[in-house]
Symmetry: C2
Subunit: 337 residues, 2 copies
DNA sequence: GTGAAAGCGCTAACAA
DNA sequence: TTGTTAGCGCTTTCAC
């Protein structure tokens, strides 16, 4: 483990000179520079990044906090984050928030190991985020509402998305529309449900509590919720799943029971994950501008780091992607099932 | 930014005492400990992880180097890595090797920012890995052969997998079998091709160069390679794609031309990615023990970190997953082995 | 253009 | 049990 000291000694210069030479300062003569570089090479010197960062009180890296490194997550979003991070000459690391306050995420958030962070991890508490956000440590949250001087939020218009999905179902003649919900403490979920309620109301369709099934955003959760709906022996005409993963789990449940989508029941998801277009039938869903969300998030961080004063809230729009999982119900003799 | 100095001062104790108290040393009296903790709380003190790591010359985190954070990659593998890393009380960060020697990956590999690393990133050079691997900085590579004191490799039996795939096709009556290759410098690809050749030879089927198409492991690469095959106007009976992504691209190409899989042509992939069972028809492919590979990789790192002497090579077996993309060709005149 | 020296914030001998 | 102190390896004034 050669240090800069060793390099300086071998090159016969002072430590500071070695440092300047290695970092490409213009005040070092070509000859000295060469000497130092050679010494570094023969000693196989590699700088200690921690020491360097500590001294400079700057890490040049930003963290992306994810629920779980092994996914599923939005690769488009990560791409957006990655692209603008590297474009700005910064490094990006991803870490998981599994383990809550003892997680890697918490460690990187609080211990000054990065210059800023983006949170997309419902399993990390508001408290941790709030505590970590301090002056000059910007955090942007993609999955919650949080008010703090150094916290910025970019969100997708979930209410509108929920409205869009529900309205689409209604316009195609569905009246009995179930909502398979995400975790009830999920911010996204609450907003999507709100959109569902608003669309129902605007179309004078009464909300029926029996058609709200609480699940957990996972594929197996969607599967179980759907089984439950089937077991009730009173299927709705359509189901709005609060995310695609659950919808795909639901498809599986229907397939097992020989219930055809969309002929026997319509379904719609939310997210437009990659799989959505490959399942059978291809899933109609709500698309979020994921790449934009990701790139905007980092962009905001760099603005704050650069000393700009910026807004704390950003909202992006959603679109409906029409595929094959919803049928049209003829309005003639409207009594089904 | 309160430091431990401020905490010590407020608590009226020495810096070392504060440090001990905060780190839960048993030699500190309960009373002192409480005083220190209170001071820390009122100052909103958070330790500087860099300083701590620098002093201890240990980071307690290991890095997972991936080609691209935004995938596609093997989530099962990451799960394996993640599970055993956290089980050992270590932190895990993922970083991308986009950018080669200027990438985040290179930075974390060389600048002593982590205690060990796992490389699954064909776009990072052997040189970087070799340079980074030094005594007490273990690296395990999952995607190449590399000999060095501190480099360990776990690989999947690609030759056997390639053999299995090809043999399966042959046993179902196919003789004209194309190989859509990954990049020719890919280690995995070379081995899979070797398995293909061996199976051909063992079954007395001559290898025909016209049926090796070089592509690049991407979906669009597979699409293009397949288009090329179609344009040749002389389709084989079956195609062995060196990975699933390319096979899925190939399916798309066939679909556009109205060529039915498997009725008009059989295909088989390699990897068993998540999508494989969802495409139409579901893709028969070779499954790798990804979770095991990931968990074994970290396990090895911890053994080395713990001072154990271990083997440098590990090989895991592959299995064939039978789905619907291969038809059986009736043995008109020839008999099966 | 180069060198001496002062820390960045922390841990851990060692001394008291 | 607590305090003093010497660094971890680096960057960066400031003097020459």
């Amino acid at each position: 483990m050669a240090t800069i000291k060793d390099v300086a000694k071998l090159a016969g210069v002072a430590i500071s000179t070695a440092s300047y030479a290695l970092n490409g300062s213009s005040k070092i003569s070509g000859e000295t520079k060469k000497k130092v570089e050679e010494a570094a090479k023969t000693l196989n010197y590699k700088k200690n990044g921690l020491a360097s960062d500590l001294k400079r009180t700057k890490t040049n890296t930003i963290a992306l906090i994810l629920t779980d490194l092994s996914g599923p997550f939005y690769s488009e979003l990560i791409k957006g984050v990655q692209d603008v991070t590297t474009a700005n000459g910064y490094d990006l690391i991803a870490c998981s928030s599994i383990g809550g306050s003892k997680s890697t995420a918490a460690k990187f958030l609080t211990e000054k190991r990065v210059d800023g962070a983006i949170i997309l991890a419902h399993n990390i508490s508001d408290e941790i985020a709030l505590e970590a956000a301090k002056h000059n440590f910007p955090i942007v949250v993609l999955d919650r509402h949080l008010e703090s001087e150094s916290i910025y939020q970019v969100e997708v218009d979930n209410v509108h998305g929920g409205y869009l999905a529900t309205e689409y179902l209604i316009k195609r003649g569905h009246k009995e529309i179930a909502y398979v919900s995400g975790p009830s403490n999920s911010h996204d979920n609450i907003l999507r449900f709100q959109g569902y309620m608003e669309a129902l109301e605007d179309n004078h369709i009464p909300y029926q509590p029996k058609w709200k099934i609480v699940s957990d955003f996972t594929r197996s959760g969607g599967y179980r919720a759907t089984k439950l709906l089937i077991a009730q022996n009173d299927l709705p005409e359509a189901i709005f799943y609060a995310n695609d993963e659950m919808a795909i789990g639901g498809m599986q449940a229907f397939k097992e029971k020989g219930i055809q989508v969309p002929d026997d029941i319509s379904m719609i998801g939310f997210d437009d994950i990659q799989l959505a277009e490959y399942v059978h039938p291809p899933l109609t869903t709500i698309q979020q501008p994921k790449y934009e969300a990701g790139s905007l998030a980092v962009h905001l961080i760099f603005q704050v780091l650069g000393g700009e004063k910026i807004n704390h809230h950003y909202k992006l729009t959603t679109d409906l992607i029409e595929r094959k999982s919803v049928r049209v119900i003829q309005p003639s003799s409207s009594t089904q099932g």
